[in-house]
């Protein structure tokens, strides 16, 4: 009997855990918003978090975007040769980097770097009872730990994404001139062909939500870590996986809402 019910129990347990995580994240988000009033608590930590989340993430984001731009240009040229004028390489590189690959690849990369970092750091503080110590000292742990990280993510993710888009387009431009029979004028012509300023706003909106998602999920899983080092590891892994999934879901959501 118990072996027959075990799968059902497993499904039910997973659903309850997911709902519990969502509920905890909701409470945590509400507390983080309320903590915005406590500027003296989160204010001093905002710039350091912006540096850790944003500035220190720029190299990896630019590295990913640069090679993405190179590959985009080469694949676009391979696809369009003989059928479509090659200046469309510029249009394809620009549109793809701005609308999709810039925000999403940067978001996924930072979910691994930033989300894991936040989950591990806060999870370690939880299992080592540092958060309990903060509460004992009458510090609001949410205002002290969560709010500056989420704010830093919301502010710095768009910056990193915009820089990565610029680098990706520049890499595609350079690749087109160096490796393909496309002149700079042709690439720019294609780049401007279908450009719409709304595309930049769309990328910025997406990247803000990605930043909030990555940091909030990392904070949530770290804040509710249980157990010792193993729990910290599990929380870190789950934070990366869940934030990556939410990024992809948000990507589709914003495309459906803002581009349709």
């Amino acid at each position: 009997m118990s072996s027959f019910l075990a799968p059902i129990r497993m499904v039910g347990r997973g659903a309850l855990q997911a709902l519990t995580a969502v509920g905890r994240a909701g409470y945590l988000g509400t507390d983080a918003v309320r903590a915005l009033r406590k500027v003296d608590l989160w204010g001093p930590h905002l710039v350091p978090q912006m540096s850790r989340i944003g500035v220190e993430s720029v190299p990896i984001a630019l590295f990913i975007s640069m090679f993405t731009g190179v590959v985009l240009a080469l694949q676009a040229s391979y696809t369009l040769t003989g059928q479509v004028p090659l200046y469309f390489v510029g249009a394809l590189v620009g549109k793809t980097m701005i609308l999709e690959l810039g925000p999403v690849l940067t978001g996924l990369a930072l979910s691994g770097r930033v989300g894991a970092n936040i989950a591990a750091e806060i999870g370690t503080m939880r299992v080592t009872e540092q958060i309990d110590a903060l509460e004992t000292l009458a510090y609001d742990p949410v205002a002290y730990l969560v709010t500056p990280r989420v704010l830093a993510g919301a502010i710095m993710f768009p910056m990193v994404v915009i820089l990565s888009i610029a680098i990706g387009i520049a890499a595609g431009w350079g690749t087109s001139m160096a490796l393909l029979d496309i002149t700079s004028t042709e690439f720019i012509k294609g780049l401007r062909l279908f450009f719409d300023p709304w595309d930049i706003q769309f990328a910025a909106i997406k990247s803000i939500t990605f930043g909030v998602t990555v940091t909030a999920v990392g904070c949530s899983f770290g804040f509710h870590t249980r157990g010792g080092a193993e729990g910290v590891g599990q929380a870190t892994t789950r934070a990366v996986v869940i934030s990556s999934m939410i990024i992809l879901v948000l990507d589709a959501f914003w495309a459906a809402v803002l581009l349709s």
Partner: protein
């Protein structure tokens, strides 16, 4: 340490914002402070033109489409073009909207109207002024070329017709048709040779016929002249009314004959008796003539003896003299007295 971190954060934020703003402006084709002017154009429609599309003159990009607005009455569309200020436009400038390429993007090309006489540019009323927030430069007419979708629709219809025609031709033109066509061509060649020989023969015959026809024609011409003279004379006769009088006379004679005929028919019964009386009269006349011829009687002697005639002539002369004397001297012979 803290200042260095803040510096890095600030640098990243400024770099990102600058990249976003400058990149957006650059990709939009902004002039970055260069002097510009605005030209407005009025068109019936703008096709696929959108804000930010290129404006070219002689193939060179000189600006962008700044605004597209439907006129208040809805009769036309007013498009504002942001152009480089140092570009001189022709006096009869007009705007032609059309696809920049076959792949979607449109552009506004500034042209001279005299180079495109067939384009139906709208005639703008004199004194048409620019309106709206971009009211700076002149207002020029414009024309939007048909959209590619319309052309492709027409091409698709044509291709469908051609395909249908091809199918019919393919059905009609099979191997049997080809063989028949080959034999027909062969037959046609033989027929052509025969026709050529026939034509050569007939041309000679036709030459002779034409020569005869010439001589015949000459005779016909002379006959026609004679006939014309005859007809002229006949016309003269008719004009002289002699024929009319002759016809009238004939009519009268005919009427008389009719009367005679009627009389004869009425007296047909008495004709026999008359003939009998005439016959007896002729018999007596014959007898009298025989007696006269034999010299019997006064008439016979008169005919047979000229003395009587001479004496009669003398008597007549004396009688004539007597009558003449009576006329001249009537009192010699006539005496009247009452008492």
């Amino acid at each position: 340490m803290r200042e260095g971190r803040e510096l890095l954060v600030g640098f990243v934020i400024i770099a990102a914002v600058t990249a976003a703003v400058v990149g957006t402006l650059w990709l939009q084709g902004s002039n970055f402070g260069r002097p510009t002017t605005t030209v407005q154009t009025l068109l019936a429609s703008v096709g696929q033109l959108t804000q930010g599309n290129a404006v070219t003159y002689r193939g060179v990009r000189i600006g962008t489409v700044e605004a597209i607005e439907v006129e208040p009455g809805g009769a036309s569309v007013r498009v504002s073009l942001l152009l480089q200020e140092n570009v001189g436009l022709p006096d009869d400038a007009a705007v032609v909207l059309g696809p920049e390429s076959l792949f979607g993007a449109w552009q506004a090309e500034i042209v001279s109207r005299q180079n495109y006489p067939r384009y139906p540019f709208p005639e703008l009323p004199a004194g048409t002024l620019p309106t709206g927030p971009h009211a700076v430069g002149p207002v020029i007419p414009g024309y939007a070329l048909p959209e590619l979708s319309r052309l492709t629709a027409s091409a698709e219809e044509i291709s469908l017709n051609v395909a249908e025609l091809s199918e019919r031709f393919e059905v009609a033109f099979n191997q049997e048709t080809a063989d028949n066509l080959t034999s027909a061509i062969t037959n046609l060649e033989a027929i052509t040779q025969e026709v050529r020989a026939l034509v050569q023969t007939q041309s000679e015959v036709a030459g002779a016929i034409i020569a005869n026809a010439d001589s015949t024609l000459i005779e016909i011409v002379s006959a026609a002249r004679a006939a014309r003279n005859t007809f002229t004379r006949v016309d003269g006769l008719f004009e002289d009314t002699e024929i009319d009088s002759i016809v009238a006379n004939i009519s009268a004679v005919t009427a008389d004959l009719a009367l005679i005929t009627e009389g004869l028919s009425g007296e047909d019964e008495g004709l026999a008796a008359t003939l009998e009386r005439a016959d007896s009269a002729f018999t007596r006349v014959d007898r009298i003539a025989a007696r006269i011829e034999s010299g019997e009687g006064s008439l016979g002697r008169l005919l047979a003896d000229s003395t009587l005639a001479v004496r009669a002539e003398e008597v007549l002369l004396q009688l004539d003299l007597l009558l003449q004397d009576v006329r001249e001297n009537p009192r010699r012979y006539v005496r009247l007295s009452i008492f």
